[in-house]
Amino acid sequence: MPQREGSPWQGLSVVFFRELFDHLTSARMLVLQFLVLLFGAAVVYFAAEQIRNTTAEDPFLFLRLFAPPGQTLLSFVLVISILVPIMAIGLGFDSVNGEYNRRTMSRILSQPIYRDALLFGKFLAGLATLSICLVTLWLLVIGFGLIRLGIPPGAEEIGRLIMFLLITIAYAGVWLALSILFSVIFRSTATAALVGLGLWLFLSLLWPALAQMIGEVISPSDIRFAALGLPTPDTLAWQQGLSRLSPGTLYGEAVVSMLNPDAQSMTTLLAQFQGRIASPLPLDQSIIQAWPQMVSLIAGMIMLYVVGYVVFQRQEVRA
């Protein structure tokens, strides 16, 4: 069978800029941005106070602003990891089914463009909107840190913060691709939004506990390890593997290795066990450590988009 003719990119930039303009001027985006700003400001303010009071000689002072050391319940990273999925779902949940409901879909698709351009334009515009938001927020926090802490970040800190930003954008992309997928599958925008939010709640609240339980069921703990107070390696592997199905877990792990160079990873645990002194990892080693998580996030984003793309291509355009 001969291939279809013409470029699938025809009209992509038109769709992209219109959607971007829509997003940036929409009330929905304004509210979400305000929410993030409010939470972020509060959390960063408290982090800064804490840093000023306690830490005098910390080589990674700036990173503490994003992820305070110790068991802090509220950190900037936590706020981001909760709010970014909401923003992404908020941007994507009505992107395709909204066109059907407004009955604009067949009119737009009867213009000389492919469906590829419409879907990809929408996805890119959503990602660009999220990136603009995140970069703005990121710069605001750094600016605030400069004023409040009074010292500039070092080169390595800048590198780590840039990696953190990129990982966050990829994380946002995963949720955006997911919500666009739901907007392709469900004809009702309310259903798409609810399913998206429901899945987000499930993955962030229930799944970590469930992964522990399921891991225990698949590969029960060995009594010999338990007696020593250590986790059974097989069980731990299952539990970790399962919990990494949630993009939140992947994001958390990647961000921790970026922002906490001296984090208690498996290697540092091992070093302590062997009596070596744990020292902070250099940036390139942190990147290597977080590499699988970063790749998984980007792969997840592409995979979810592709599923949505395939379903969309096969859809009947009647409205």
């Binding site: 003719e5 009209g11 009955r103 009867s110 000389p112 463009i113």
Partner: protein, 315 residues
């Protein structure tokens, strides 16, 4: 034939076991208004979607200006304007902004855009509300805006799916008049509708759909002759003795129907008005009214299913 712009041959669409469109063939010539008529669910919209390459073809071929909509959809969509059933626009944007977006998608150079939008809006009578949000538009205004989009696109073929559905009689007449102006520009127009009578007035030829098949195809008088046995419907209002018998004796008259006291409807192969008038005078009666009407498609459609015994889905 070089004049043919759309050629549909043996087109079939199946959804699983159900056949939505069953071996449909027709062709549309340049500058012609072609009616795709029939009840809802008869396969009209599916046929249109296949012509635009928006849905896959199970078997058969479609050629639009010599191009295949499945493999060359961009070239086809460049020359075809489509007004979907109850067209939608972005409600929060103005009419002009909506058209600007479409113009950008079509690839109209930005220098021409505003000029073409303005002249298209003027032709459909929306020039005064161009900068109002479409959310405030009535249904008729939206349909007209959809027509403006087609005018702006400057196409060779316009496909209008149920353009008059949900419109009041006045808005319907206005819209039909605008569709006629498209024909004057040499555009081939394909109109689909379930309102047979309303749309037959503007159609040069019609195809009557039922259950995915084209049951009748041709001009309205042709179909009337074929199905009813006569192409003319003469109405007479006259007083006189035994007029019904006298009328039925006239040559060319196929049937006489007394529709009320002193009202007769003659179905004839030719225009029998002079003969009917003469018959009334000869009988010493007084003639009050004499008129001729094109046979209605509804009558043709109903009669076709009565005589062919097929199941009748018209509403």
């Amino acid at each position: 034939m070089t004049d043919t712009v759309i050629e549909v041959h043996d087109l079939t669409k199946r959804y699983g076991r159900a056949t939505a469109v069953d071996s449909v063939s027709f062709s549309i010539r340049k500058g012609e208004i072609f009616g795709l008529l029939g009840p809802n669910g008869a396969g009209k919209t599916t046929t249109i979607l296949m012509m635009l390459g928006l849905t896959d073809v199970t078997s058969g071929t479609v050629s639009v200006m010599g191009r295949d909509p499945v493999r060359q959809p961009l070239q086809v969509k460049r020359v075809v304007g489509y007004l979907p059933d109850t067209v939608g626009f972005y409600d929060y944007m103005t009419a002009v902004d909506n058209l600007r977006y479409t113009a950008a998608l079509i690839g109209i150079p930005s220098a021409d855009r505003d000029k073409r939008i303005a002249s298209a809006l003027e032709r459909v009578g929306l020039q005064d509300v161009g900068h109002k949000r479409v959310g405030a538009f009535s249904r008729g205004m939206r349909q007209r805006l959809g027509l403006a989009e087609i005018l702006m696109k400057d196409v060779s073929i316009a496909i209008l799916d149920e353009p008059t559905s949900g419109l009041d009689p006045h808005a319907t007449s206005e819209l039909l008049e605008m569709i006629r102006t498209l024909k004057r520009d040499g555009v081939a127009v394909l109109v689909s509708s379930h309102l047979l009578e309303r749309v037959q007035s503007i159609c040069d030829r019609v195809a009557l759909f039922n259950s995915g098949k084209i049951v009748l195809l041709g001009t309205v008088p042709e179909l009337a002759r074929e199905v009813l046995g006569g192409g003319y419907n003469v109405e007479v209002e006259a007083e006189g003795e035994e007029l019904a018998i006298r009328f039925s004796e006239l040559s060319g008259v196929k049937a006489v129907d007394q529709s009320g006291p002193n009202r007769y409807r003659l179905l004839a192969e030719t225009d029998v008005r002079p003969q009917a008038a003469a018959a009334v005078v000869k009988a010493g009666g007084s003639l009050r009214r004499l008129s001729i009407a094109e046979p209605s498609l509804n009558a043709i459609y109903d009669h076709y299913f009565e005589t062919h015994g097929g199941h009748h889905a018209a509403t």
